[in-house]
Symmetry: C2
Subunit: 274 residues, 2 copies
């Protein structure tokens, strides 16, 4: 488009070897910060019991920093590493033929990026930072071979893939069967749960994404999202101030979680063998 973007940071100025690395100088010269993570740290983020890990203290994974608006990887780009979110907020989007973008997820601390690149060896979605981000680079090959030495880690990898599948499955179910209010309510509760899981308040938090992005994620327009939030605000279920959300009646929100789909379908299924 016509305007000059605000981030002047020249993307092509890195001199490092691997394509996923960014210029440490551009990232803010984080040498005294955490540029490398141990396997133990990775395991903690992934919620793997790291009790048996010893002798690998020297094993390090590189960290990379991204600023808000920067793209971690694009669709079609060659895949060779996953990224584990150490801190920050992001969005993963799908770009349909000719421009329209569809938000798929809002990864945050502990989430794994790039899983969809394993198949076909190139990323199937695009990931963009919504805030300053610190990501840990996990070269896929390295991760797999590590898994062979650490069964819990290997189990966890399968777990994570399967879990992500379940999540997307639920997402598809929701998009197919729930109305706008229920979608927004679920979204708010999900966000609350994730913040709580990270140790922050699940009652009062700050959304990092625009209404437009929320709408895209939920299969709604930004206007509908805005209106629904205003609604919830008026009836006192939540309090909205810009991107700050306060959950004031969680029970009420939860009660919305199923909505205008045909309820009580007859189910006629013969129990199979075994």
């Amino acid at each position: 488009m016509l305007n000059t973007h605000t981030y002047e940071n020249p993307p092509g100025s890195n001199s490092l070897s691997a394509p996923w690395q960014i210029d440490p100088v551009a990232a803010g010269r984080q040498c005294h910060g955490r540029l490398w993570s141990t396997l133990k740290e990775v395991c903690n983020l992934l919620h793997v019991p790291s009790s048996h890990l010893c002798g690998d203290e020297e094993l390090l994974f590189q960290n990379v920093q991204f600023k808000s608006g920067q793209r971690i990887h694009a669709i079609g780009q060659a895949f060779d590493a996953l990224h584990l979110v150490h801190s920050g907020f992001l969005k993963t989007v799908l770009i349909d033929e000719y421009g329209g973008e569809q938000v798929l997820h809002f990864p945050m601390k502990g989430d794994l990026l790039g899983i969809d690149g394993i198949h076909a060896r190139c990323y199937a979605s695009e990931v963009v930072a919504l805030s300053e981000c610190n990501l840990i680079v996990l070269p896929f090959k390295k991760l797999i071979s590590l898994g062979k030495d650490h069964p819990e880690l290997e189990d966890t990898i399968y777990d994570l893939l399967s879990q992500e599948l379940v999540r997307k499955q639920g997402m598809a179910g929701m998009l197919g069967s729930m109305g706008a209010e229920a979608r927004v309510a679920r979204f708010l509760l999900a966000m609350a749960g994730r913040f709580e899981g990270m140790g922050y308040s699940g009652k009062l938090f700050n959304l990092r994404m625009t209404r437009h992005e929320i709408g895209s994620y939920l299969g709604l327009t930004l206007e509908t999202v805005s209106r629904t939030l205003s609604n919830f605000n008026e009836i006192g279920w939540i309090s909205v101030y810009q991107r700050t959300i306060e959950i004031k009646d969680q029970t009420a929100l939860e009660s919305l979680r199923r909505l205008p789909s045909s309820c009580s379908r007859p189910r006629k299924v013969v129990q199979g063998s075994l």
Copy 2:
């Protein structure tokens, strides 16, 4: 292992006329059907290059038969095995709190069932046979340990998980952004492609599921599905007779694949790497 595998049908020789038919005798009395499959056969179904497989000729996987309407597994049921579709048609459904069922997928030959059970060790969806089915049971532990000896197999497992992820991802994208006609068109094309991939006609095929199930899968009502099909029929893009579909203008259907979402969104993204 106990095996009296008579095994008169070589794996490749599907001589039956229709893809959903299996030997009725075998379905009735399992002793005379193919009760066991070799690793090679499994690899073929999964499209793994099975060139290096030798010495494992004795390794067998049990087959199980299901009749139309039977349930392969229920939500919450303990997970210990995946199922590979050898023949037949099925649906996987999500049951939301209190009965409403949401169709997630229509697995057929070569598809893997139960992936969502890896995480949490219990199935997250329910699978029901839509026709006579012949499934190969792949105990998960066994499969993983096999993967350690056969790198291509291990790669394939990761591949399949990732691929399934990409599929559900695209599904979510579609549900969030496309109109009814585009969804139905995509569905028809997808079915055509899958039939073609199995060696059957991609122009003339028979849907195994009801309008209601299609609607649930696409996030539409059965009436909308029916109307849309009638529409396509009237304008000559397809021909519909009950569940038999003939694709008469594939190009036209493909041209529908993006629909009333906001087109041409401005994209302001700073390239992070490269």
